[in-house]
Every structure is written in structure tokens, then in C-alpha cells.
């Protein structure tokens, strides 16, 4: 029986997030001949993004637009999504494993009495058998899971930066379907949003992460790291010790009780390499460690190590990259 895969696309600052293209690819990788791929855009003024979703593989695009959907609210977005589900009748829902996906996917799964496999990093299909790979213990182990009933609805969230999107084809066309927003009476009210990361690149999606540990010594100590990240178009992360010391926000913490990142390049500055930190970054493609202490455990997982003072090394590195990328 042909299935319909529905990808819940996510935009940020008026642009589709990379993870949405990755989720489209994840749905494609899960599908068989004859299956269809649809996407849903929820938000105010999101229709303009439909063309790009078509280019990346969506055949049908459902759009729910309403002023109430300007920013994410669990109840409002769930209501919009359920309206689309009622029209589209999908067999599977795919989300990015982002703040929105982590919130909305389990709500949708519970509403549909569906199984969900979260934080998927790879997909293998042979015939009707689809296996989903995901990390356990923040990457200290890896499991494969499958849905026990292939006919029941599936819900999947896809970890950013792991599944390469399809090559876009700008000539692809998709059918656009507007779905009316069934305005629910909202119980929770967002009073205020304090923007701290506006414009910055999301850590989980960043291709390059420059992280600071206790070795940066102060909030100002992150300055050279921010400059390096800016030159590389990357994001800044931190160890828990740096967060605990108040040098930075907990939202920047990488590790077992923080974010798990899989960038192309991870630069650890003044981070010793505790097991909880390694759990969150050791599947990065290339790891670079900068540490004064030649015995620091971080060097055991680093592809390249520089033994030295980060306050000398990081500015030199920034200069060198600036020259290279000029």
C-alpha cells in the first residue's frame, strides 16, 4: 500500500532551516516506490517558502497561515498540524529534532496514538523494513529501531547535520493546498520573548562549532572564540564548567546533559575533555583541541591538537582562516 510521508518544515528568520531539507531526505529514504512526499508549512507568510520545499522533493505542500502562528506556540501549532493531518491523512510525520520538533512531534504522536522514533541520524530501508539509527547515552552507544506495525502511523524526528539532503531541482513543481487554521482557544500565553541568539547560527545545525571551557576564564574570554566563529560562519558552544561558572548561557552547553552536536569541525578551547563533554561532541567529523595541558584527555579524541594558551592560539587561528577565506 502506498504511503504518504508528511514533513513538518520549519522556518527561522524567514528562511527554511537546513534540517527541513534533511527531514525531506529522511522521509525519501524511508519510502518505497509509489509513496508520496508532502510537506507542511505552518506560520504567518510562510507560503513563499513552498518553492524551495518542492525543489528538495515535496510533491504536495500544505500551508496553514494565520497571525496567531507568527511564533511557535504548542497548542496553536498542534491545532494547525492536526488540521493538515485531517485533510492529508499521512502515514508518517517527519520533523527536525529542534526545539519545535522536540515539542510538537510527541504531541502529534500522542494525538495519533503513534509510535515515535526520536533523534534519528541514519535510515536504512530494505523492502518494507525500515531501520532508524539513533544515539543513546548522548552517543556513547548507538541503537537501531523499527516500528513494530508498519501500517500504524509513524512519527520521526531527525537530528540536524546527519542526513545529507537531496540535490535540489529548481524545476520541480508541487501542488499547493491551503488549510484553514482552526483557531483554538489557547491556554498558554507567550508574554514576552527575550531574544538572545537572534541572527546567530543554531548550535545543533552549525557546520563549525567553536567551544570554550573553564579555560576561557570569564564571559569576556569568549570574545576571541566568537571572533573565530564569526570568520568561519560557525556557532559558539561551551562546556558545563563554563556555563556553571556563569561565563555563558546554559543553552550553549554541549555534552551529555547539554546539546549533542555533529558539526564538520569542532574546536575545543580550554576544555579538558570530561566523559560528559565528549559524549556531546565526539561524533563531530574533525575535532581540534587547544589546551595548555598536554595531558588533557581531550587530545585522546582530537584529530589535531595544539598545546598552548588559547588566548594566543585562537586569535592566530582567526587570522589564518581570515587570510584563507578572503
Amino acid at each position: 500500500m502506498a504511503k504518504q510521508f508528511l514533513v513538518v518544515a520549519e522556518a527561522r528568520g524567514g528562511k527554511l532551516r537546513q534540517v527541513s531539507f534533511e527531514a525531506l531526505r529522511a522521509a525519501q529514504l524511508s519510502s518505497s516506490d509509489g509513496d508520496t512526499l508532502a510537506a507542511v508549512l505552518i506560520g504567518a507568510g510562510s507560503k513563499v517558502l513552498a518553492g524551495e520545499l518542492a525543489a528538495y522533493g515535496a510533491d504536495t505542500i500544505y500551508v496553514v497561515e494565520d497571525a496567531q502562528l507568527e511564533s511557535y506556540n504548542s497548542e496553536a501549532y498542534l491545532s494547525a498540524l492536526l488540521a493538515v493531518i485531517a485533510v492529508a491523512g499521512p502515514n508518517a510525520l517527519y520533523f527536525g529534532h529542534t526545539a519545535v520538533g522536540r515539542d510538537l512531534a510527541p504531541l502529534a504522536a500522542a494525538s495519533l496514538a503513534a509510535g515515535q522514533i526520536s533523534d534519528v541520524t541514519a535510515i536504512e530501508r530494505s523492502g518494507d523494513n525500515v531501520q532508524f539509527t539513533r544515539p543513546l547515552y548522548a552517543g556513547k552507544a548507538v541503537e537501531k529501531k523499527a516500528f513494530t506495525d508498519p501500517a500504524a502511523p509513524w512519527v520521526v524526528t531527525v537530528r540536524p547535520n546527519n542526513i545529507a539532503p537531496a540535490a535540489p531541482d529548481a524545476s520541480r513543481q508541487a501542488q499547493l493546498i491551503d488549510v484553514a487554521y482552526p483557531a483554538p482557544s489557547l491556554r498558554s500565553i507567550i508574554r514576552e520573548v527575550v531574544k538572545k541568539t537572534s541572527g546567530a547560527i543554531d548550535l545543533a545545525e552549525a557546520k563549525i562549532v567553536v567551544s570554550g571551557g573553564r579555560g576561557v576564564r570569564s564571559a569576556e574570554g569568549f570574545q576571541p572564540l566568537e571572533e573565530l566563529a564569526a570568520v568561519l560562519g560557525g556557532a559558539v558552544g561551551a562546556s558545563r564548567a563554563a556555563c556553571d561558572a556563569g561565563y555563558c548561557e546554559y543553552a550553549m552547553q554541549i555534552g551529555q546533559t547539554g546539546k549533542v552536536v555533529t558539526p564538520e569541525i569542532y574546536i575545543a578551547c580550554g576544555i579538558s575533555g570530561a566523559i560528559q563533554h565528549l559524549a556531546g561532541m565526539s561524533s563531530s567529523r574533525v575535532i581540534i583541541a587547544i589546551n595548555k595541558d598536554a595531558e588533557a584527555p581531550i587530545f585522546k579524541v582530537a584529530d589535531y591538537g595544539i598545546v598552548g594558551d588559547l588566548f594566543e592560539v585562537v586569535p592566530l587561528l582567526t587570522e589564518e582562516f581570515r587570510k584563507l577565506l578572503a
Binding site: 546533559t257 559524549a279 591538537g305 598552548g308 592560539v313
Partner: protein
């Protein structure tokens, strides 16, 4: 105020994961309260002390989970409920449904859980539960104030902070920064031994034995081990130049 805390026992974050015959080796491993759930326990105790009422811990897990529940009772929670049964496979759909079957019969003003569990990392159970119980929820909170029947919370939304007002009863999941969990005191440990502790099986929860998992693990492996790379040599400037060249020509990531 009737406060329920969802609690899971996890491996100590210091533990290395060792597999034997495709399962995680538990012998000699240290177990702890899931670090995020610890913030939930602490918040519940503080709110109980401020507003009165009772803190009940609820967990689905192996019998050993009783240790984690005893620790949380020693921190100051009032009662514990452990739902333990060999038939439970650990699928998030299943666990949320079992908890919902139990919690629907309770009077609840506030439900607190952790942001995610550091072993499984799926982050589904608490949010599913909010939906199953028909409660509003906010995930990943770093601040919680209650006055009357309204909660005002701060939600960590990938670094931005959303200030959200929610009517009670509601469910919240705790993010790091919410508070500083206390250690169990010696008198606390002594008192914990006498606090009400219910052990339930699926047979004690009407309808729970009919819940069937929707997902299943097919394999478990260790990730490929990372080999130590190259410590660069020479003066700093030439090390830096070599690094940047290597990233371009060897690793091809720049």
C-alpha cells in the same frame, strides 16, 4: 498543591557504556536520578514548602529504580510510586500511556519532569503525557513562579527565553539552570525509609496491560572509537598555519 514528579533512574553520566551480547552491561555500574529530573524534584520540594501540599514521585522502571526514588524522598519528596513490570518494553508510547492510566486517577495541580533522559534522550514521555492528560505544558523551563492557579515560566527556546503564562494544572519539563538540587541530608535519609512507597505492576493499573509498544530496538552497538590524532609541533604560528592547511588539504572540511 498536589505535585507529581516524573522520575527516571539513569546510568551515572561518568559511566562508560560496555556491551555484552548486544545489551548494556550493568554490573557494578552506578545509577543516579536522571540529572534533569533532579531539577524537577528540587523545584517540586521548593513549591511544596512555599505553597503547601504534597510531592509524589512516579517512576516506571526496574526494581533498582527504588534507590533513585529513595534518594528523592531523602531530598524531601513525600511519597513514591514505582511501576515495575517485566512486560514493559520501554517504548515511549507505552510508558506515557501507562503513566497516563495511573495519573488520570490522581488529583493533580502540577506535573514536573526532566527535559529529557540522558540515557535514551528521546524527550517524548512527559510531553506525550501532557497531551494524554489534556494538560497545557511548557518544555525546557529555567524558571517557575506560581501565584494562585497561574504559573509563569521561562522557557529556553534554543537560547532565546520565552516568558509564558499557563493556567494550572499544567506540566513542565526542567532545563538546567532551573535551580540547584540539594543533597539528601542524613535526617532526610532516615525519614525517607518511613515514607509511603507503593510498588505497582501493570495488573494494579486498570487497562495498562493492554498497552503494546509501537517501536522496538533491533540492534545496539558502540560507536566507532575515535583515534587520537596529531599533536602539532613547532612555534605557534607555524602550528596554526599547518592546522589550517591540513583542514583544507587533508580533511577537506574548509
Amino acid at each position: 498543591m498536589d505535585i507529581f514528579v516524573l522520575l527516571k533512574q539513569t546510568f551515572d553520566t561518568e559511566e562508560k557504556i560496555v556491551l555484552q551480547g548486544g545489551v548494556v552491561q550493568e554490573d557494578g555500574a552506578k545509577f543516579v536520578i536522571n540529572p534533569y529530573d533532579e531539577y524537577a524534584v528540587e523545584q517540586a520540594i521548593q513549591l511544596r514548602d512555599e505553597h503547601g501540599g504534597k510531592v509524589t514521585l512516579v517512576s516506571v522502571g526496574w526494581e533498582r529504580t527504588a534507590e533513585a526514588l529513595r534518594t528523592a524522598l531523602a531530598m524531601g519528596a513525600d511519597e513514591a510510586v514505582l511501576i515495575s513490570d517485566e512486560r514493559i518494553l520501554g517504548d515511549e508510547y507505552e510508558i506515557a500511556e501507562i503513566l497516563a492510566h495511573y495519573l488520570r486517577e490522581q488529583s493533580i495541580d502540577l506535573l514536573l519532569g526532566g527535559n529529557f533522559s540522558v540515557d535514551n534522550g528521546a524527550g517524548q514521555v512527559a510531553i506525550r503525557l501532557a497531551s494524554l492528560l489534556g494538560l497545557p505544558h511548557v518544555a525546557s523551563i529555567t524558571k517557575l513562579d506560581i501565584s494562585g492557579s497561574t504559573a509563569v515560566v521561562h522557557r529556553d527556546a534554543e537560547g532565546d527565553i520565552e516568558v509564558i503564562e499557563v493556567p494550572l494544572p499544567a506540566l513542565f519539563t526542567a532545563q538546567q539552570g532551573l535551580n540547584e538540587p540539594r543533597y539528601p541530608s542524613l535526617p532526610g535519609i532516615m525519614k525517607a525509609k518511613k515514607k509511603p512507597f507503593q510498588h505497582l505492576s501493570l495488573d494494579d493499573i486498570p487497562g495498562a496491560d493492554a498497552i503494546i509498544a509501537k517501536t522496538a530496538r533491533t540492534s545496539l552497538t558502540l560507536p566507532p572509537e575515535r583515534k587520537a590524532g596529531r599533536i602539532l609541533k613547532g612555534d605557534l604560528a607555524s602550528q596554526v598555519a599547518e592546522l589550517v592547511q591540513s583542514l583544507r588539504n587533508e580533511s577537506k572540511v574548509i
